[in-house]
């Protein structure tokens, strides 16, 4: 299946929150107006600048941090693009929340058995050949669903055709190795504050930890050999000392060596 994605054109968003409502109905969440992403709001439309609305949701990274950090592999990047969560596997360590560069995963803090909550791009609907509830509900085309490659082309075309209207930046094209969600805007992204103002590297974040993790087999092998070697030398030295101390007469030719051994011991004590 082709890699799908969502293009969010900030210039077209009127802040009607139809996407929020559609999302909440899809996921049986209470129909409240939320200011921030939470366990009960997988997407929110925020007026980050006067009359400029920014819709927040999971970015569905190409090389997702959450997929890499989860100790039990509860997150998966599906072939179609969505990053999905397996609540059965999850143990609740919240490393995904700590490390997500976009601070997307949220938690059910007041439940006895809490789960991580985040947008899953309506992966089941995509599987059926449909589109996510939010893009289907958008009345202005501010959020459109499609193949990621085609959305990139569309974004480039819009920027090229209207250079006065758009800033020349497709947010999500390169950030942390690219994301399935893409943004284009009439305002520099830094002005939208977190997470858009954070200088994210183009390198996928999992590569930073992999640089350390890939050394593990080497440490195990080299460590094992070196430690065994040291142990062999030290224990052999002990055996030789013992043997020489107890065999002064039978092996008179070792006499000199034994004396050396004794001297060393005395030095150690001092």
């Amino acid at each position: 299946m082709a890699k799908m994605g969502i293009l969010i054109d900030i210039t077209k968003c009127i802040g009607c929150k139809a996407c929020e409502k559609a999302c909440k109905m899809r996921n049986d969440q209470p129909l409240t107006l939320d200011e921030h992403l939470s366990a009960n709001a997988y997407t929110v439309v925020q007026e980050r600048l006067p009359n400029t609305y920014v819709r927040r949701m999971c970015m569905h990274c190409e090389n997702p941090t959450c997929v890499s950090v989860c100790p039990v592999g509860a997150f998966t990047k599906t072939a179609a693009g969505p990053v999905v969560y397996d609540k059965y596997k999850c143990i609740g360590c919240r490393y995904c929340m700590y490390s997500c560069p976009f601070s997307v995963p949220k938690y059910q803090w007041n439940k006895v058995v809490p789960y991580v909550q985040k947008c899953y791009m309506c992966a089941d609907r995509i599987e059926e050949g449909s589109e996510p509830a939010c893009t289907a509900a958008c009345p202005t085309g501010a959020s459109i669903f499609g193949e990621r490659d085609k959305l990139i082309e569309e974004a480039q075309k819009r920027i090229k055709d209207n250079p006065d209207r758009y800033v020349d930046h497709i947010y999500g094209l390169h950030e942390v190795g690219g994301t399935s969600i893409l943004y284009i805007s009439n305002v520099e992204f830094e002005q939208f504050k977190a997470p858009f103002n954070i200088a994210l590297p183009d390198k996928p974040l999992p590569m930073y930890t992999w640089a350390a993790l890939e050394k593990v087999p080497t440490i195990v092998v080299v460590g094992g050999v070196v430690l065994t070697g040291i142990w062999w030398i030290t224990s052999r030295r002990g055996e030789v000392e013992k043997f020489e101390a107890g065999s002064k007469q039978e092996h008179w030719w070792r006499f000199g060596k034994k004396q050396e051994g004794v001297k060393e011991k005395k030095e150690d004590k001092q």
Binding site: H36, L37, A39, T65, V67, S68, V69, C70, P71, V72, G73, A74, K89, C90, I91, G92, C93, R94, Y95, M97, Y98, S99, P101, S103, K106, Y107, Q108, W109, N110, K111, V112, V113, P114, Y115, A194, I198, A199, L200, P201, L205, P206, Y208, T209, A211, A212, L213, V216, I219, V220, G223, G224, L227, T228, I230, W231, T234, S235, R237, G238, D268
Partner: protein
């Protein structure tokens, strides 16, 4: 006669800690994390992860260091330290597991890491290392228990395995002590620049070595005071000397790293994080280093105790800074642990101290039995 009021005083304190600990435990398991902690979506990691788990593993590093010294390097002088250090390690890691059971949202699924693998995850590696190392420590300490119970056969079996176990334990410790630093490699954009470094795994490992030595000294002092048993001064002095070298190495690469990344100037900034970094470095490295370079301090019990205390407090500050303070600016929120979080942490540490005291009293922890002696247990009881 002098001791009786002291013991009563401590008993009251312990009773209060226990009551609070049990109270908050009940709330945590019946009403969820939100009812006890100040954690939030902006601050998903707090005191329990940073102190009970990440710091706790570091504080228990003494076990592998002394096992390395005695079993691998065969420096026999240090044999008397081996058992208390292994016991500290064993209890330390057990408490880390207990801390995890409080912190994990789905604590009853803690075993999932055994069947659901993700080798790309640092947390997965840490989980496996800690599981395996806890087993190694249990086996290493089991010789003491078997000896106390006079189960000779089992004791002999463990003795045959002790060298491979020790080697395995050193490798596992090297891996997970450094990997706790690798946990933070994934947040280059979130963690404050003085703390974020590609060398985090190395820093975590070296500082764990340093605090491991300090903890052995610290515990010996407490054991002597409260149990009347401890470690000889000249051995502790030897550890302190090694620690001086470790701390000089740590400080050197820390400065080299800051300079290499071009952020050395930030040390002088008046930002909250920079000030915390400076205090942490002073307490963890510079002050104890200066203290231990003075021969009079190095050769006195009190001097060793005070400098170890600096290392330990500084180490705790470092871990809390990396895990909590360092991401405050990027989180857009403020976090200070709730009373319940602090109470549970103290509760867990207290259980550790009590378990140590109990085992040191009833098993031959502070005595190296000689092969000719038949009844090492009774000797302990006499003392």
């Amino acid at each position: 006669m002098v001791r009786i009021p002291k013991i009563t005083f401590w008993r009251i304190i312990i009773a209060v800690i226990m009551v609070l600990g049990i109270y908050y435990t009940v709330i945590r398991y019946t009403q969820g994390l939100g009812a006890v902690t100040n954690l939030s979506d902006q601050y998903p990691w707090g005191l329990w992860v940073a102190f009970d788990v990440i710091t706790g593993v570091g504080l228990a590093a003494g076990g592998f260091l002394i096992a390395l010294t005695v079993y691998i390097f065969r420096i026999d002088n240090y044999k008397p330290i081996l058992r208390p250090a292994i016991l500290t390690g064993f209890l330390g890691y057990t408490l880390v597991a207990v801390g995890l059971l409080y912190d994990l949202g789905k604590w009853f699924d803690i075993w999932h890491a055994i069947i659901f693998w993700n080798p790309r995850s640092v947390m997965f590696e840490v989980a496996w290392c800690v599981m395996l190392y806890l087993t190694v420590l249990a086996l290493e300490f089991s010789t003491v228990v078997f000896e106390g119970l006079k189960w000779k056969r089992l004791n002999q079996l463990i003795h045959m395995l002790i060298i491979p176990l020790a080697i395995f334990g050193v490798i596992l410790s090297t891996l997970h002590q450094s990997s706790l630093g690798s946990l933070f490699l994934i947040v280059p954009a979130k963690l404050y620049t003085l703390w974020y470094s590609p060398l985090l795994p190395l820093f975590f490992f070296i500082s764990a070595v340093s605090v491991g030595f300090a903890m052995v000294t610290f515990e010996s002092f407490l054991s002597r005071r409260f149990l009347g048993k401890g470690i000889e001064l000249n051995l502790l002095n030897g550890l302190a000397r090694v620690n001086v070298l470790v701390m000089i190495f740590y400080l050197t690469i820390k400065i080299w790293d800051l300079a290499g990344r071009g952020v050395l100037g930030d040390v002088l900034s008046t930002r909250f994080e920079s000030i915390m970094f400076d205090i942490e470095t002073l307490v963890q490295v510079i002050i104890p280093l200066v203290l231990l370079l003075i021969p009079a301090v190095r050769t006195s019990t009190k001097g060793l105790f005070v400098s170890s205390l600096f290392v330990i407090v500084g180490f705790i500050m470092n871990r809390l800074d990396v895990a909590i303070t360092g991401i405050e600016a990027s989180s857009g929120a403020h976090y200070f642990p709730a009373f319940g979080e602090i109470a549970i942490s103290i509760f867990i540490v207290t259980i550790g101290f009590l378990a140590f005291a109990f085992l040191a009293k009833h098993f031959p922890v502070f005595i190296e039995p000689k092969e000719n002696e038949e009844e090492p247990v009774e000797i302990v009881h006499d003392i």
